[in-house]
């Protein structure tokens, strides 16, 4: 509902009302204390001004009152404790995406956003999602630190090079909502933005299918699996097999264990000697410089499609 002079962005996600409520509470507290201080200052400054009837000679001045000090220490302490817990509770609750989230992949680079849906559909500086469905963005940067911020959803997260970060949201109304790059990234930072299009599920399905060759991210990944020769080792037993790998707990050559999540798979492709799986020789060559971030995501989608051990693979 457009306002002539809006003070708040539209509440477009499940998270937004909770954040706004806390904001109202904070504003109420702030207005109360600001008003209290302003009014007291005005009142005292006028009542006790030099030359007035209440101008007090400095004898027997009140300059200490321990109970008062305790009072105005404890009350703020109680208030900030409430605010802390309230905010932390929302934050922690919303930190993990729901299990049935639709995954969408985001690659940020100076100064545009590449977005890829699992079915292979790509878009630039735009994000189409269905309403009332949790969406999890897995994001990485090809260069500097960016940030994906949707004011209407009240959520943002930095997008880092050489690592995956993620955020999730569930849109509650259809329409279009702005998103911005929100970590200063150089010349084109203020132009690195676009629109989130929230659609009714049927419309989203139609959009998703339109203009797509039918090749999903996993299909692309499989093509790359052959093209880059991964199959020569990983398909012959020379390297660890991929079936059921995603989400599995892997034992490394130094006997430590690690969960095979997106970050692990990405590192294995780009920096293969960092962590060697137990029982295998460290002979995998690196593909850094040969494979792009988009292609890494496609390879990961392919590996996921070969069956996963569903466990806690949440990327932070």
């Amino acid at each position: 509902m457009p306002h002539a002079f809006p003070l708040f962005p539209v509440e477009g996600s499940t998270a937004a009302p909770g954040v706004d409520q806390l904001f109202y509470f904070l504003t109420a507290v702030s207005v109360f204390f600001s008003a209290l201080i302003f009014l007291l200052i005005f009142y005292f400054a006028i009542k006790y001004r030099r030359g007035s009837k209440d101008d007090t000679p400095p004898k027997n001045q009140v300059t200490n009152n321990i109970p008062l000090e305790v009072l105005w220490t404890v009350i703020p302490l109680v208030l900030v404790t409430i605010i802390f817990f309230w905010g932390a509770q929302i934050f922690v609750k919303d930190a993990r995406p729901p299990r049935d989230s639709t995954e969408i992949f985001v690659v940020g680079k100076q100064w545009m956003w590449h977005i890829e849906h699992t079915n292979g559909k790509r878009e630039i500086n735009a994000l189409h999602i269905p309403v009332n469905q949790p969406i999890r963005l897995t994001m990485t940067s090809q260069d500097v630190i960016h940030d994906f911020f949707v004011p209407a959803f009240r959520v943002k997260k930095d997008v880092l090079p050489d690592r995956y970060t993620s955020e999730w949201f569930q849109a509650t109304r259809t329409g279009k909502f702005r998103f911005f790059c929100n970590q200063y990234c150089g010349m084109g930072h203020s132009l690195m933005r676009g629109w989130v299009y929230v659609m009714k599920p049927e419309d989203y399905e139609k959009w998703l299918r339109g203009g797509v060759s039918g090749i999903t991210m996993a299909d692309q990944g499989e093509k790359l699996y052959h093209q880059f020769g991964c199959i020569t080792c990983h398909g012959t037993g020379k390297g660890p097999a991929f079936a059921g790998l995603y989400g599995k707990t892997v034992t490394l050559s130094n006997k430590q264990t690690v969960v095979a999540n997106e970050a692990y798979l990405r590192e294995s492709i780009l920096y293969p000697t960092a962590q060697i799986v137990n029982g295998y020789p460290p002979i995998m060559p690196t593909f850094k410089g040969q494979v792009s971030e988009d292609q890494v995501l496609q390879l990961i989608a392919y590996i996921k499609s070969l069956g996963s051990t569903e466990r806690n693979t949440g990327t932070p």
Binding site: N254, Y271, T273, A274, P282
Partner: protein, 216 residues
Amino acid sequence: MHNSNSVVAEQFDDRIQQHEASNLGMWIFLATEIMFFGGLFTGYTIYRNLYTSGFETASHLLNAKLGAFNTAVLICSSLTMALAVHAAQTGKRKKLIAYLLSTMSLGLVFIYIKFILEWHHDYLEGLAPGLHFTYAGPHARHVELFFCFYFVMTGVHALHMIVGEGVLAVLLVMAWRGRFSTEKYNPIEMMGLYWHFVDIVWIFLFPLLYLLGARF
């Protein structure tokens, strides 16, 4: 009242106040140095824990014998520095000059070994990130990171030593000119604190950088 020949500077009331102030000032300065190195040590500790294998591999590429020798050199130089302070406090000009010279010489030995025998060698071996890094063994990425820390940490330390050498030279000239006496020896004491601090930093650096992973 103070005159220009007084051992007590104008802003101070007496020698004791001046002495205490100088001491406190030097300790505060050393606190800033701890914070300066602290950032490096913290970063190093984080990565050493994250990339244990890589850092151990890299540590083995350093010459622990030279490092150990240098540690001994620095400890000796701290001894000569402490002796210099004592000589200054007791007004023994010749001994003061001798001990200052010894400290400087030992410091120069350290710097020679560090720059010529170690750094230059590492550069030729292809272990100098940014300039000439060719190591291609296991964990190459983390080995390079280790060497980034190695050069920065020992470099910053060496810079502090070089500055120390400069101050020692100035103090040496002053001692030669008879500027110090049982009444005025505070600068030597202050330098002693600084030198010991630089030594202690090395005593942390040596095991952290050179002695990772089992070697025996």
